[in-house]
């Protein structure tokens, strides 16, 4: 049940931006992840391996699985059946270091029963000014295929392009600043084929009830996001971080993301992290919780995804990591990390249709909490 039409950049891109001209560290990570909230449970394993060769080349590979069990508010209130499915993702990438430049390329594939995605990406980073400044840019292209389980006659596809630039700047011996910008364009079937909007049976009489119809989306989507991040070192071996991201797109959604982090080291082996994150967005201009009339044609857009609505969420995160040197064969350090996140979602114009007694449009607003757990084992070698 693939509803995301998000930028696909590949798991391995995460370390590519805002780093100097040194190859990524050689490490292997094995993670168990679990998301539980709003009637949806997603869990599974993930693995990342990085290996360098001749101090010039670096290869990385990732494997990631989502096991999904869903009885979300959308599934329940539109009469669909709860479902389960599995998404599997692979990626393979390489980096080449030359002087103060790193060139990286890679490929990712994501596959589930009704959605596949293939992505190629390309990144370049260059150090300047005594290695105090790092400029990065990248491009990725994705081809997605969209299907609908139970409807063999349906097939759609999406072309996606991501363009990104980043700048990392050392300001003082204790302060680093990072700037990032990303433009994403999509074209194709951007709906979720399973989702519906609702409209009044009789616009003059809401008490007469409502009906559902399949959503009608634009076939193009272009977004801009710009982020500023700061990290400051405290002299008791701790850091504080702050970030802000502005988002805007041609569907009418504007978003703001703020985050604060504090990292504290305990003794020689323990690291404790605490983070608070706040996100808010406005609604897409074709979103409504309850339309007056059904769509008249393919340009008369209708959407009721709560991700397109006006809402905010807040996250509190705690992480504890233990690492120590080891002398086992090839490995020289090992770490174990546990992380817990609680997210509170609060919707301002998406209503809870489980209250069937209310007059349409007067149901209580929907909200839910989600818990996310991560357990990561890492070896450096």
């Amino acid at each position: 049940m693939a509803a995301t039409r998000r930028a696909w950049a590949g798991l391995v891109l995460a370390a590519g931006l805002a780093q100097g001209a040194i190859l990524p560290e050689e490490r292997g990570d094995a993670m168990y992840h679990r998301y539980d909230g709003g009637g949806v449970t997603v869990d599974g394993p993930a693995v990342l391996v990085r290996k360098n060769f001749e101090e010039t080349y670096s290869l990385n590979a990732t494997y990631y699985v989502d096991n999904v069990s869903s009885a979300s508010i959308d599934v329940i209130t539109t009469g669909a059946s709860p479902y389960g499915e599995t998404r599997t993702e692979y990626s393979l990438g390489g980096d080449y270091l030359h002087d103060k430049s790193i060139i990286g390329i890679g490929y990712s594939n994501s596959d589930e029963s009704d959605y596949t995605s293939d992505t190629w990406y390309f990144n370049v980073s260059q150090d300047f000014f005594g290695d105090l400044t790092t400029l990065t840019f990248g491009y990725s292209q994705s081809q997605d295929d969209v299907y609908q389980n139970g409807n063999p006659d349906f097939a759609g596809n999406i072309d996606r392009h991501n363009y990104r630039v980043g700048l990392s700047q050392v300001i003082t011996p204790e302060l680093i600043l990072s700037l990032g910008y990303e433009l994403v364009t999509d074209e194709g079937y951007l709906n979720n084929p399973y989702r519906s909007y609702r409209y009044l049976t009789n616009p003059q009489d809401p008490a007469a009830g409502y009906q559902f119809a399949q959503e009608v989306y634009p076939t193009t989507h272009t977004s801009d996001a710009a982020a500023l991040r700061l990290m400051y070192y405290l002299n008791w071996r701790a850091t504080v971080g702050a970030s802000y991201r502005y988002y805007t797109d041609d569907w009418g959604i504007d978003g703001n993301t703020f985050a604060l982090t504090y990292t504290h080291t305990l003794y020689d082996n323990w690291i404790f992290d605490i983070e608070y994150r706040y996100y808010e967005q406005s609604a897409a201009n074709f979103y409504s919780d309850l339309f007056q009339t059904p769509s008249q044609d393919s340009k008369d857009y209708r959407g009721r995804d709560k991700e397109l609505s006006n809402f905010n969420d807040q996250t509190l995160s705690l992480q504890l990591s233990y690492s120590r040197p080891v002398s086992y064969r090839f490995a020289d350090r090992a770490a174990l990390s546990m992380r817990w996140d609680r997210i509170w979602f609060d919707y301002e114009d998406f209503r809870n249709l489980e209250d069937t007694a209310a007059i349409p449009g007067e149901e209580p607003l929907y909200n839910f909490e989600a818990d996310i757990y991560r357990l990561v084992f890492t070896l450096w070698y």
Partner: protein, 75 residues
């Protein structure tokens, strides 16, 4: 006059291209804090990529977060 302009242009190009030695205002021996892993914006690449994926599925915004996954089970 034109010689001066040429030199200025060369200096500007040189600075833009990073081809000239620039005196770093943070000396190499002052960078031990910057090299500490806790100063990294992305200390745990696999874990943070997963976190970005969760937000991409649940929120309308996308991009400029440094990494992400695609596809989902998110209805």
């Amino acid at each position: 006059m034109s010689d001066t302009v040429t030199k200025l242009l060369l200096a500007a190009l040189c600075a833009l291209g990073g081809g000239c030695a620039t005196e770093p205002w943070v000396k190499p021996y002052e960078r031990q804090h910057l090299a500490d892993p806790i100063m990294s914006f992305n200390r745990d690449p696999l874990s943070s990529a997963y976190g970005h994926h969760v937000y991409q599925v649940r929120e309308g915004a996308r991009g400029a977060e440094g990494g992400a996954g695609g596809g989902c089970g998110c209805n």
